[in-house]
């Protein structure tokens, strides 16, 4: 039996895909009913479970046969850290093959398993649980102890006893799979994964260990998303959205001055449109151009240049006024590397922010003057800050230019200045700003995704994140079948430049670059704009 995979939507390794098994179609994540299995069930059955590998590598070698499915079986017999290892090992065998985790699905673990790239589940655990009197819900409940059923599914309303339990438990799995599908569409699965991981210590362990596998998750990590990051828990600090960003800004940050001005974050995004930042900025006027601004938040810390870059625009932290020791340590560490190249620091912060700065100063051995007192916008604070800045060497940082250059480097790994030979101008009302060349739009800040959008005149100049397509006129969506070559750096949601002999255009990647080359079906690039190549 041959399976074909058409990718519909990715959120990291989690995906909605349509699998076709000899004409029968299944959209993932999908829960197989073992009482009424699909025809492809034989592709999932192997003699030994995958995890036997640990106990008896020879038996595994001898009896485990690779099939159309990537089969993650026997996971209940190994500890959480091993489950993570096996899932990652299995998922990496193929980008396109369907992956099933057998006999393990519960409403609690489905989101996390999808996060590892599992496509198919079954209701074995649901049925086994039913026989043990376990009733699936947001927590697993004891059926016999229930006075009333906290559910209005068809099973709970029409069935009784064992039949009710089996069907209800299965429905809860299906609901969870459908919920995950929706969250993939919203690009917000991770928030949900973090919540569900809290329901059981083993899931918490799995998630914590998962986050140590940066390389695996980075391969499918969307660098730009339309969803919001809710850093409500410890694991939020180690999620890809945060790790990648903090890592990447360090790689591409090029401050222009020798003095860093540290400012506190604000609930409103972008920060510079908040009341606090507006007050400070308008008070300082041109003085602000003498320094490089760095905004301290939790878990993010970033130069002003990245405040429109995902996820700086798209996070909402719970603020109690109290910084935990861990938060301070985490943020201070990242702040340290950002301030490393500066001669002097002006820290216009108070409270927990100040503790962060102190720790970063200790780590770097830098000096700083603290200018805030009784609120960062108090009269005294503002005066002291102004005085401090007056002593700084004059400089004329161009805010928009710097922002575009940084975001461009972050996104394309290219130097905008040299590409455009300084011919760029800027327009628009912050944050909806444009870079133009010869009065034509070249780049635009896409505030939904926190990235730069590219216009055709600029597209031609971008040599990275390119996709070569077959000779057809691209319309709407480019399918992976039509892709000849793709930059391996490409991740889902990246802005890509596609070309063939006749056309050049700009699109949004829906797959990773490697996936574009490896898969034969599915949505690869959504076309934003294109043009016929001018033959000269």
């Amino acid at each position: 039996m041959k399976a074909t995979c058409s990718l519909i939507k990715r959120d990291g390794w989690a995906r909605i895909a349509e699998f076709d098994f000899n004409g029968e179609k299944f959209q993932t994540p999908f829960v197989i009913d073992i009482e009424n299995p699909p025809e492809f069930i034989d592709e999932i059955i192997n003699l030994v479970p995958y995890s036997i590998k640990e106990l008896d590598p020879q038996a595994f070698e001898k009896f485990f046969v690779e099939k159309e499915f990537l089969i993650a079986s026997g996971l209940t017999a190994v500890p959480p850290s091993k489950v993570v290892e096996l899932l990652i090992e299995i998922r990496q065998k193929s980008l396109t093959k369907p992956m099933i985790a057998t006999a393990i699905a519960t409403p609690q673990n489905i989101p996390l398993l999808c996060y590892f790239g599992v496509d198919f589940f079954d209701n074995a655990m649901a049925i086994a649980s039913a026989h043990k009197g376990l009733y699936f819900h947001e927590r697993v409940l004891n059926f016999d102890s229930l006075d009333e059923l906290p559910c209005s599914c068809e099973a709970c309303r029409n069935l009784e006893g064992l039949e009710l339990l089996k069907r209800h438990n299965t429905i809860k799995l299906e609901e969870q799979a459908l919920l995950v599908r929706q969250l993939i569409r919203n690009e917000s699965l991770r928030n949900h994964v973090e919540v569900k991981a809290k329901t059981q210590p083993e899931l918490t362990v799995m998630l914590r260990i998962a986050d140590r596998n940066y390389d695996f998750f980075e391969k499918m990590h969307s660098r730009f998303k339309k969803s919001i990051v809710y850093p409500t828990t410890t694991e939020s600090f180690t999620r890809m959205e945060v790790s990648y960003f903090l890592q990447r800004i360090k790689e591409v940050y090029e401050p222009e001055t020798k003095v860093a001005l540290l400012l506190p974050c604000t609930a409103k995004k972008p920060y510079s449109l908040s009341r606090t930042h507006k007050t400070i900025l308008s008070h300082l006027g041109n003085l602000i151009k003498r320094v490089d601004e760095i905004i301290i938040s939790s878990p993010l810390v970033l130069p002003r240049e990245f405040e429109l870059c995902y996820p700086a625009m798209n996070y909402d932290t719970p603020v109690t006024g109290h910084w935990s020791g861990e938060e301070i340590e985490f943020v201070a560490e990242h702040l340290s590397s950002l301030i490393d190249s500066f001669d002097y620091i002006i820290a216009h912060v108070e409270g927990g922010y100040k503790e962060v700065v102190r720790e970063a100063l200790d780590a770097t051995g830098k000096d700083a003057s603290f200018t805030a007192e009784n609120g960062v916008t108090s009269k005294k604070s503002m005066e002291r800050l102004k005085e401090e800045l007056k002593n700084v060497e004059d400089c004329r940082k161009d805010r928009y230019r710097s922002l575009f250059e940084h975001m461009f480097r972050y996104q394309f790994d290219l130097d905008l200045k040299s590409l455009t030979k300084f011919s760029m101008n800027f327009k628009g009302r912050y944050p909806n700003i444009f870079a133009t060349i010869n009065r034509e739009n070249a780049l635009r800040v896409d505030t939904v995704y926190g990235m730069l959008d590219v216009y055709l005149p600029m597209a031609e100049k971008i040599s990275t994140y390119n996709v070569e397509i077959a000779d057809f006129e691209p319309k709407g969506t480019i399918f992976s079948a039509g892709i000849e070559w793709a930059d391996e750096k490409i991740r889902p949601n990246d802005v890509v430049i596609f070309r063939n002999s006749e056309f050049i255009g700009v699109g949004r990647a829906l797959m990773s670059g490697r996936e574009m080359m490896e898969s034969n079906k599915g949505y690869a690039v959504s076309v934003k704009r294109k043009t016929r190549i001018q033959s000269d």
Binding site: I34, E35, V48, I52, A77, A124, K166
Partner: protein, 319 residues
């Protein structure tokens, strides 16, 4: 190990046994002799076999003679119709029971007018027997499927070797009992049932056994299967599976004595109905009356679903 141990059989007990050729139930003495044990046990044992624990490399004919003296005393007391001599290996393997010892046993059978001698052996050793003793030889065929027998169980002989041994024994008037293993490692519950039924079917159709004994896998100390079980990769079969097999057997008599039945290490259901079900299985083994197998317990539903679950899970779900 003290010498005195080598001079006593591992175990000896009296029991009822179906004298199937005569269709009646008779007294039977079962003896497990302590021998050097199966020659494969140390090197390359079967995955479920823990009988090597009952054997000892130091056993000599002298010891065996002492053991037989002990047996003889019992025979005198009990006067059984059937004598079963098991060796935790092969009766016909001269390394276990020499020609001399075997002769001694044949002699005892004749002397005490025992009507039937039952022994066990791997097929490769079956080359001769005493034509004056009515014998039944049990062979651990386990499955007619060579893959199951050799890959999963690691038995190390082919179905052809079995049929050759069978044909030889029949040619000299010896009955053949085929042992079938219910649930080798790696087969799921349902696959295990199907495999046993497939074996019964073939043996029955081709008349390749006089009687079939179903052995539901139990967890013996020091075995590969015990490791699987300990790590959560194996569950002994349900008693319902044995019942299912017995219910669907053919004309050849089928018996089953579920070792450790109703225990965690043996075939079991929900532990509530186990006593009753084991009793029924034993009853059927004596009577071949299928009606005694019409049993019910709530857990029969769980067993049905368990077959679906284990098929895909490839291990038991521990909840």
């Amino acid at each position: 190990m003290a010498l005195v141990m080598l001079n006593k059989p591992v175990a000896l007990w009296t029991d009822k046994e179906l004298f199937w050729e005569r269709n009646r139930v008779v007294d039977c003495i079962t003896v497990i002799l302590r021998t050097r044990g199966c020659y494969r046990a140390q090197r390359d044992p079967c995955r479920m076999c823990g009988y090597s624990i009952d054997s000892d490399a130091n056993v000599t004919d002298k010891n065996l003679e002492k053991q037989l003296e002990f047996v003889e005393e019992e025979i005198k007391k009990r006067n059984p119709k059937i004598l079963k001599i098991f060796t935790s290996g092969s009766f016909f393997d001269p390394r276990e029971t020499s020609q001399k010892i075997r002769k001694k046993i044949y002699g005892m059978v004749k002397e005490y007018s025992i009507e039937k001698l039952i022994v066990e052996s791997r097929p490769e050793f079956i080359r001769s027997a005493d034509p004056e003793v009515y014998m039944e030889v049990g062979i651990g065929l386990e499955s007619v499927n060579d893959f199951v027998r050799n890959e999963l169980i690691n038995k190390g002989f082919s179905f052809e070797e079995y049929t050759e041994a069978h044909d030889f024994l029949k040619s000299i008037g010896v009955s053949v009992k085929a042992y079938l293993l219910l649930k080798p490692p790696f087969l799921s519950e349902k696959e295990a049932i199907d495999d046993v039924l497939n074996s019964i079917n073939l043996l029955d159709r081709e008349k390749l056994a006089d009687i079939i004994s179903i052995n539901p896998t139990n967890i013996q100390k020091g075995t590969y299967v015990e490791r699987l079980w300990y790590k959560g990769y194996f569950r002994p079969p349900w008693l319902w599976s044995a019942v299912d097999v017995l219910k669907n057997s053919g004309d050849t008599p089928v018996i089953c004595d579920p070792v450790a039945g109703g225990k965690a290490r043996g075939p079991h259901n929900c532990y509530k109905c186990d006593g009753e079900v084991v009793k029924a299985i034993k009853n059927f083994s004596l009577t071949q009356n299928r009606d005694v197998l019409n049993l019910y317990c709530d857990c029969i539903e769980e067993w049905k679903d368990y077959m679906l679950i284990e098929r895909i899970a490839r291990l038991p779900l521990q909840l």
